[in-house]
Amino acid sequence: MGEEKRYWRDYQKDIPDGPFFYVRSCIRQTFTPGAETMLLKILTGYLGLDVYEDPRHTCCSGIGYHTDVVPLETTMTIIARQLSLMQEDGYENLLVSCVTSFGLYNEVLDIWHHFPEKLEQTRRYLREATGRDFALPKAVIHTSDIVYKHRSRLAGMMKYRMVDRQSGRPLRMVDHVGCHYAKIFPAKGIGGAEFPQVLSGLAAPWGGISVDYSERRHCCGFGFRQYLLKDNRSYSVSHSKVKLESMAPHHPDLILTNCPGCCMFLDRWQYTIAEIEGRTYDDAGRGIPVLSYEELAALLLGENPWDIGLQMHQVQVESLMDKIGIEYDASQKYLGDRGQYIGCPQKPDVLLA
């Protein structure tokens, strides 16, 4: 193997084929619950992987930890309980769907590795509180890693391609990888923090083009307390604006994300910026559609966009679906769980579909 190839091996990651113990994201289940439904359908249905969700698992407490209201010892013990459930259910590979959680699971495992007394303290706390014990996971995998690994297999099953149906032009995708996916532990992410590949690597097999932009590695602006506190939200919108301004000259057809929070922020802040400044980031004044990797995969596989939950996005996705030639029934968009019409959102003065 040549010197150059050895160098790139540092940016690869071993991804097992399962079986996987799945833990959810409280941000995604709040803002894009359909993305979780579709992800599990893709993993277990399309890819036939063994993925199990134990309904007894809780939030990892990551948002509380990074907003400094949950102590480290509490977070470590909550994570230990998730691992205890995994052991009880007979699984060894932890499959994490949230980027904040992914960073935190890796962080806690790293602490336990370097500070065995913290591992022992956590075992004591968990035993005292619940009578449980736990085993360390064999692997910690982010759900976007799995989709990346099986990108070509999925491409073979897709009904649509990331191509403009009229012109045959490959669609231009800009990506945003959540900070805690690889900035804390670069070796845990595909492409590391420097050359993130986990999303950009999906474009070519699915028919599109990944476009680099100068602020690609910049934070979306969540900032934990900076978004969650109303008074501090200027931090959050300012950083999303930095990213959107950097994307716009490349005329992207869509933004792709692997973090449920980033996906929501890059969507919602386009609305806010449009309301405040009248600024939109596409040529038609509709905004750039923002999708997560599982939402995009599900769309291209031919799943109903309203089952995916794309009606929950503020920047409407019809323009993207029309470009690709995705068939959809507009009359189903605002139907509820029993097929009942539940009214539609008030139209904003900006970003009109």
Binding site: S61, G221, G223, Q226
Partner: protein, 202 residues
């Protein structure tokens, strides 16, 4: 005066975060908070390397330590393997434990976070759920979220969720036994007492 440095030294994040900073400023160049606020992670390292208890107290009682957004980009970039984001985590903890956070505007905002995020975790087992994102407090979420919020059960379950249901699925209610285990963890590890203390502004 409390020995703040001793409290910080007992936090492994402080010890791991500050190795041998040469004040090159790469952390400040990459830091999103430094671009927005009067915040300079390089200065945080400068102050902490002085090992001056009085200066540390000033820092703990200031707005400065609350500006970091915890992206942890500083960890990726530091050529000396320092992580200012970890130093900040430990400074914030000492500020909260000693009550110095109450002396700064930004610090006092922890009361709201403890009540909302901490309270939701203790009550429901999730830091965040649909019920928490009230449109009046989140105008930036826009009219689509307002519609989602008003119809959250129908919209969530339309997308395969399980709003306030039992069993698996998005937005499910966590069963009583699991909540009881979570609450026992919060009690045993001091999390409950910590959240309650902050919620009361103590």
């Amino acid at each position: 005066m409390t020995d703040y440095l001793k409290l910080l030294d007992s936090d492994l994040r402080f010890r791991e975060g500050l190795n041998a900073c040469m004040n090159c400023g790469i952390c400040t160049a990459i830091c999103p908070a430094a671009a927005i606020f009067d915040y300079d992670p390089r200065k945080i390292c400068l102050i902490m390397q002085k090992r001056d208890n009085a200066l540390t107290e000033q820092l703990l009682a200031s707005d400065t330590i609350w500006f970091c957004g915890q992206c942890l980009g500083c960890r990726t970039r530091c050529p000396r393997n320092n992580t200012v984001g970890y130093i900040i985590q430990s400074l914030r903890r000492v500020s909260l434990e000693t009550g110095l956070y109450l002396r700064s505007d930004q610090g006092r905002k922890q009361i709201d976070l403890a009540r909302n995020i901490g309270g939701n975790l203790m009550k429901k087992g999730y830091c965040v759920d649909m019920d928490l994102v009230v449109p009046e407090m989140h105008p930036e979420q826009g009219p689509v979220w307002e519609w989602v919020y008003e119809n959250r059960q129908a919209v969530c379950n339309r997308c395969g969720g399980n709003y306030h249901g039992s069993g698996p699925g998005a937005q499910r209610t966590i069963d009583p036994q699991s909540m009881s285990e979570l609450q026992a963890i919060l009690r045993t590890t001091g999390g409950e007492a910590f959240i309650n203390k902050l919620s009361k502004g103590e």
